[in-house]
């Protein structure tokens, strides 16, 4: 699934990153605890999380994840957005809660 589709399905906006139509994810993983995320190792995964600390970006960076979807309409601090930009990770933000955002993406074919 292209990130442009993720935007459209979850009504998200793009906080950092560009050329969303060229970035593709085949799976998604949702958690607020980073070690749960780190237990999984599949690079082409979208990280869905409510956590907006620098470690959210670092976690994605370690796992080679291309994109993060921040849920619950959380404000993304400037330094976190900057870190996403410098590490080349696309950062999206939606007002949907984690359950709904995940459900909508799953229903449209983005598997776990």
């Amino acid at each position: 699934m292209k990130l442009t589709e993720v935007l459209e399905i979850t009504g998200a906006t793009c906080v950092a990153g560009e050329h969303l139509d060229t970035v593709e994810v085949n799976h998604a993983f949702a958690s607020d605890l980073m070690s749960d995320v780190l237990a999984m190792s599949r690079p082409d995964t979208l990280l869905i999380t409510g956590l907006t600390t620098p470690q959210t970006i670092r976690t994605a960076q370690m796992l080679d994840l291309p994109a993060i979807l921040v849920v619950r309409g959380k404000d993304v601090p400037q330094d976190v957005a900057d870190l996403a930009r410098t590490t080349g990770i696309v950062l999206l933000a939606t007002h949907e809660i984690m359950y709904v955002a995940s459900g909508k993406l799953y229903a449209r074919g983005l598997s776990g």
């Binding site: 607020d32 605890l33 980073m34 070690s35 749960d36 780190l38 237990a39 190792s41 690079p43 999380t49 956590l51 600390t53 620098p54 470690q55 959210t56 670092r58 976690t59 960076q61 370690m62 796992l63 080679d64 590490t87």
Partner: protein, 309 residues
């Protein structure tokens, strides 16, 4: 293997540097005074199954020792009713409470006695060390070593052999220093960038980075944020070592369990404390050694083999 050689081997491993005489000794000590009778020493030895009794003055300062052989001599000479003072050894080889494990071992090697009294600076007796005490200290300290490898001793051997290498010629060195979590993970990010320049495959670099990251975060949330992250990356192998300054892990086997965590709610708010970090490290590394203990530094060494994938 003769005892002396295995003792050499243990010392070489340097794994028991955490142990000093005060942590090895037994403190339930039975002592007598110089004016007590030899017969009393004999009864004490028989009832407590001990092979030597330390003799102390009124202030509990060590003044002598009476061993089984002295009792046998006294028995032969019919001197059981004499005072301990008249038969005891006065030049007792004793240890100090803060003597290192190595000193203890060499004491056992040099003087072929079965037990050594342990004294404080002022000469007061605080404990005794027998070979059984040494053995149980070694066994206890294995609870503070975790080795994720069947070839336990070989891995441990390489751990200590690599220590010098890490000191003198690590390929990558990063000083961990964080008060909160702000820059936690920066070291691992740099390590990852470094490994990518070394021509390692994507997947081994990912495994090494994830594990380094988990260990770095642990230093930041559990160990006061001061430590180091080093790596040696050669010959198709990435060896990562993360060290901190304590407070250490009391029971490593417990800490390795998925879901076991001492993290507070405040830490969980920051996205950590699932109790998955060490389990992840075990899963993604090819060899793993953790050395720690209560009030000790924690050292985590992980090896990643490039050709495993």
């Amino acid at each position: 293997m003769p005892l002396e050689q295995s003792v050499e081997a243990l010392r070489y491993l340097g794994l028991f540097s955490n142990l000093d005489a005060s942590s090895v000794m037994s403190t339930a000590v039975h002592a007598l005074h110089p004016e007590d009778r030899v017969a009393a020493a004999r009864i004490l030895m028989r009832e407590k199954s001990i092979s030597g009794v330390p003799i102390v003055d009124a202030d509990f300062r060590l003044v002598g020792l009476i061993s089984v052989s002295k009792i046998i001599e006294a028995l032969a000479d019919g001197r059981l009713a004499d005072s301990v003072d008249s038969v005891m050894t006065r030049d007792v080889i004793s240890l100090h409470a803060h003597d290192t494990f190595e000193t203890i071992l060499s004491c056992f090697q040099r003087f072929k006695f079965g037990r050594f009294p342990v004294v404080e600076e002022d000469g007061r007796l605080v404990g005794m060390i027998t070979d059984t005490d040494v053995l149980s200290a070694i066994i206890r300290s294995f609870y503070s070593v975790y080795v994720h490898d069947q070839r336990r001793t070989m891995t441990l051997g390489s751990f200590s052999a690599l220590s010098k290498e890490f000191e003198n010629s690590a390929d990558f060195v990063y000083g961990i220093s964080c008060t909160g979590l702000e820059n936690a993970g920066e070291g691992s990010a740099r390590l990852k960038a470094f490994l990518q320049t070394k021509g390692f495959g994507e997947s081994v670099v990912r495994r090494a980075s994830v594990c380094a990251y988990e260990a770095e975060i642990n230093v930041c949330i559990h160990a006061g944020g001061k430590g180091s992250l080093r790596a040696i990356a050669r010959n198709g192998e990435i060896i990562v070592r993360v060290e901190d300054e304590g407070p250490g892990i009391e029971n490593i086997d417990l800490a390795m369990k998925e879901g076991w965590s001492t993290a507070t709610d405040a830490i969980r708010e920051l996205g950590f404390g699932a109790g998955m970090g060490l389990a992840n490290i075990r899963r993604f590394s090819d060899h793993l050694v953790i050395i720690s203990g209560k009030d000790k530094p924690t050292k985590v060494e992980m090896i990643f083999l490039a050709d495993k994938e």
